[in-house]
Amino acid sequence: MASQKPENWFFRVKGLVFIQAFVTVTVVGLGWGWDLVRVEWAAVMSLMSGLLLAITLFSIRHLREVEKDLEDGKNKAEKERELQRVMLSSIGEGVVVLDTEAKVRLLNQAACKMLGWKMEEAIGKDWDIVAPLMDEQGNLIDKSKRATKRVLEEGIVLTNNKNCYVDKGGRVFSVGTTAAPIVIEGKTTGVIAIFRDITHDKAVDRAKSEFVSLASHQLRTPLSAIKWFTELLASGDVGEMTPEQKQFLENIYSSNERMIELVNGLLNISRIESGRIIIDPKLTDLGVLVKQIINDLVAQVSEKKLEMIVSLHPNLPQMNVDSKLVAQVYMNLLTNAVKYTPAGGQIEVMISLKGDEVLSRVSDTGYGIPPDDQKKIFERFYRAGNAVKMVPDGTGLGLYLAKTIVESSGGRIWFESEVGKGSTFWFTLPLTGMQAKSGEVRIS
């Protein structure tokens, strides 16, 4: 278009010069010839008529251009509308647009497919007729209680994944919906809702949940049998045993308890990773919690003649945390310290305040973590080479679980270690504590 401009102007100017020359010659010639006007007036008149003609020609030309622009604009708008229509029908999720009376104004292809309606049939119909809503128990939800009503009245965005739609053929399917108001110049003129058939997602969730549950049942059952039979034997209910037999039985019992811990550890990781964990924060004294954990480890500590030092900040406040989760962190760090510190070594637990965080430190004078292993030490099932050689038993889950718990609580965990000198682990928890979360399962 830009290259044509000079050419247009050239033709326009050339045309005008020609017309003006013609008019001037005609008017001046006639006027002068007939002696009606003086030469000067004739010249002025001819110039003015030329000017008028030029304006007229320009106007016509401009009108044509405007007309062409309008035509182009119309095509562009139509193209834009077509693009929008194609995009809307290509969206994999159902889209519905409702007017202020909750009647269907638009239904995309995915919505039509899910609900079994043709778009032309659905347009203008009450949304409650096109997509009846049911709760999880199978009760129909009255249209006065539907999200669309609230969205229209309150102008808010509502999301729900607990209800079901009933399609035209009567099939009920679980649906995830988000309904938002359509606001034009501050006024709600309708509702736009996006929805998705989540029947499969729900089935997968249920299957996963059921799998974890069944797996826990299967793994724990033989462990319970070992636990209860060793208990029956150890209690002398079925006859007295020699001290050595009793000692061996205690070994079986404690090994079994460790196995139960391993199963619980695996389950806990699965629960945290799946986001199904319940976080139930309650005011907790971390000092008391740590001392309880150390108490549980007293047998191992005294057996190895380890020195255990606990130092607590004098003004340590109670924290709003899920004590079971935090206990897991201390337990894993302390168990490692006990396991990987040679007899006669020292373990120190220190809890202090630092800014808006509580800082816990667990240090030992143990074997230390080789530099090559340090990067991977928080990985699931990873155990440092020297740890595997010195203490063959171990799951490689403890530090991973500790990290998962600390980080999901808004804290940080890190360490420093030197082979032959020992390791120090630090972790922080925000003074504000943990955020409560309703879930399905608890840590065990």
């Binding site: 826990s216 724990r220 049998a225 636990k227 029956l232």
Partner: protein, 134 residues
């Protein structure tokens, strides 16, 4: 314990059933063991000498604890109820809530308890029943 209370144990794991029965008998209970939920329900249908307590596993192979409770409700006469302690290795809060709603009095996780502690709970529950009867 003067009267010997009867405890019905419904547990599909033979070894666990054996350990529970042994411990209950050693403690002075009369214990009837069932490795199958349907068999236990058939026994309840006879309605004579009903147990004082039912020790129930949740996953029974053929049925689950809450189904057992529902069917037990259908079998027993309206004014008869037997206290139930569910002892399972699977205890999601949802399952516990549902089972308690269906009439179980306790839901306990096997791996968390020593056998002695569980038998202690059974003692308490039958003791409570005794008080209610008088």
């Amino acid at each position: 314990m003067n009267k010997k209370y009867l405890i019905m144990v419904v547990e599909d794991e033979k070894l666990l059933l054996q350990a529970i029965i042994k411990k209950l008998e050693l403690t002075g209970f009369v214990a009837e063991g069932y490795g199958d939920g349907d068999l236990a329900l058939e026994r309840l249908k006879k309605k004579d000498n009903l147990p004082d307590l039912i020790w129930l596993d949740y996953y029974l192979g053929d049925l689950t604890g809450d189904v057992f409770l529902k069917r037990m409700k259908e079998i027993l006469e309206k004014n008869v109820w037997i206290p139930v302690m569910v002892v399972s290795n699977s205890a999601s809060p949802q399952k516990v809530e549902e089972t308690l709603k269906n009439g179980a009095e306790k839901y306990l996780l096997k791996a968390d308890y020593k056998l002695e502690d569980l038998v202690g709970i059974a003692k308490e529950m039958t003791g409570q029943k005794k008080q209610n009867d008088t």
